[in-house]
Symmetry: C2
Subunit: 263 residues, 2 copies
Amino acid sequence: MKTRFILINTSHAGNVGGTARAMKTMGFDDLVLVAPRWANVLRREETIQRASGALDVLNNARIVETLDEALDGVAHLCATAMTPRDFGPPTRSPRAHFAELLGVPDLLLKKEHIESVEQGLKPDSIAFLFGSERFGMQNEDVYRCHVALSIPSDPQFGSLNLAAAVQLIAYDWREALGGFAVQSATAEPQLADAAAVAGMLRHWEEALTDIGFLDPASPKKLMPRLNQLFNRAQLSPEEIHILRGVAKAMSQKALRAAGKTSA
Amino acid sequence: MKTRFILINTSHAGNVGGTARAMKTMGFDDLVLVAPRWANVLRREETIQRASGALDVLNNARIVETLDEALDGVAHLCATAMTPRDFGPPTRSPRAHFAELLGVPDLLLKKEHIESVEQGLKPDSIAFLFGSERFGMQNEDVYRCHVALSIPSDPQFGSLNLAAAVQLIAYDWREALGGFAVQSATAEPQLADAAAVAGMLRHWEEALTDIGFLDPASPKKLMPRLNQLFNRAQLSPEEIHILRGVAKAMSQKALRAAGKTSA
C-alpha cells in the first residue's frame, strides 16, 4: 500500500536523517517535509550522517510549504499526537488501528480494542503525520486526520524522540502489512534422536562411575536428572559427539590414574 | 519482570542517551554499559541531550569492564544480532519470541513461528544485549545467549540505528508484558441516535428543496445517498445540531431570495 511519512515543522536535522533511516529499514521511501526549520535540511551533514546510507530516501524527499501540498494521492491520514484536545479524531494504538484498517482477523487485537472494527472501504494509501519536536502537531493539522495514533508508553514519561516514533510506526505498519521475514543467522538446528541421547547417557554413566562421581550401588536420581537436563537442552548430533568425547576422556583419565595408583 | 538493557562497546554518546530515553518511554530503567568507548559517557553533553529527561536512567546506569559483570541477576539472555554465524542460539523475531517466552496464547504469533513453543520454566528476569554500532555483537557474546533476536527489516537495508533498535525491542517487550494503556486525547465520542439523524435529514430535504437542489418530483437517490454518507460519518449530537443549523440557513436564504425576486 502506498505509504507516506510527513514531518511538519521539524527542527532537528538529525531527526530527518534518523527518519529516513527508520523508514528504509522497514521498506518505505516516500518522505515529505512541510516547512522544516532548515531549507537545506536534506543536505545537512547531520542529516546525512544519521541517515546512515538511506540517501535515496533523502534524495527522493520533497519539501513543501503547506500540509495541503503534502497530501496529494493519500486517502487515509494518521496524526501522531499525545496532547489532549477539545475534539478531534479518535485516539488509537498503532497496532489496533492497523489491524482494523486492514481487516486483519482480530486475533492481533487486545479485547478492549476490538469494539470499533469498521465496516467501511479500505483505503489504498496512507500518510503518517508527525509534528515538531517541541510542540507536536497543531490542532488544525490533527483535525484533518482520520485517526490520532498514540504509541502506548509510560504515562510518567511518554516523550518519544521523533525518529524513534517514526521507527515504531514504520515497524508496526510493516508488520501489519505482512512483515519482513526473519533470516536465520545459523543453519536450522538438527535434533539428535532419543536413541542417540540414551547411548550418550550410558556412556556418561560409565564415565561418571569411573571417576567416582556415581556410585552404582546408590545411583540415586543422578542419571534421570541428567536425562531431563539434556532433554531440555535439545541436543544436536554434534553435541552428542562432544559429550561422548567428554565421557571417553573422563574414563581414560580415571584409567590412567588407577594405573598410577596401582604402579 | 526484571528487565535489563546491556550495551556492549558502545561508541556514540548520542546512542547511550537515546537508549536511556527509549527505555524510559517503555517503563524500563536498568541499563548497564560494558566497556563503552568513553568512560564518562553517562555525563557527556550529547548523552544528556539525547536522553531528553531520562536522567534517572543515566544516573542509575552501571559501567562495567566485562560482560560477566553485567549478567548478575538475569536468567534469560537475548542477543540482538544480524550477521550469520557458524552456530549459536536460534534466531527469532522479538514478537514471536516474547509470546513464546511468556506463554502468551499463540494468537499473537504468525503461523510459521508457532512450531517451537517451549514447555520449559519461565524465566523471571531477562537481559537484552546490544553490540557496538560498527561491529555488532561478537560471536563469544552471542554464544552466551538463549536466543538471537532479529528485528524484521528490509533485507536490502536492515541496518537499524542502535537507539532505534533499543526502542523497538523495549516497545515489543512492554507490549508483550501487557502494555501501557492508550489515553484518549478527546472525550469518548457520543453517537447521535438514528431518530436524530432521520430528523436532520428531513430538515435537509426541505432545505435542499428550498434552494432548488432537490426536485421533489424527481428526487432520485439523493436523500438515501446522504443518509448513507451520514451513517458512515457516525454523527454526534453536536454535529446534528450544526447540520440542522446549515439547513435552516439554507432555507432562510432561499426565502429571502424569493422575497427579493417577488418584490
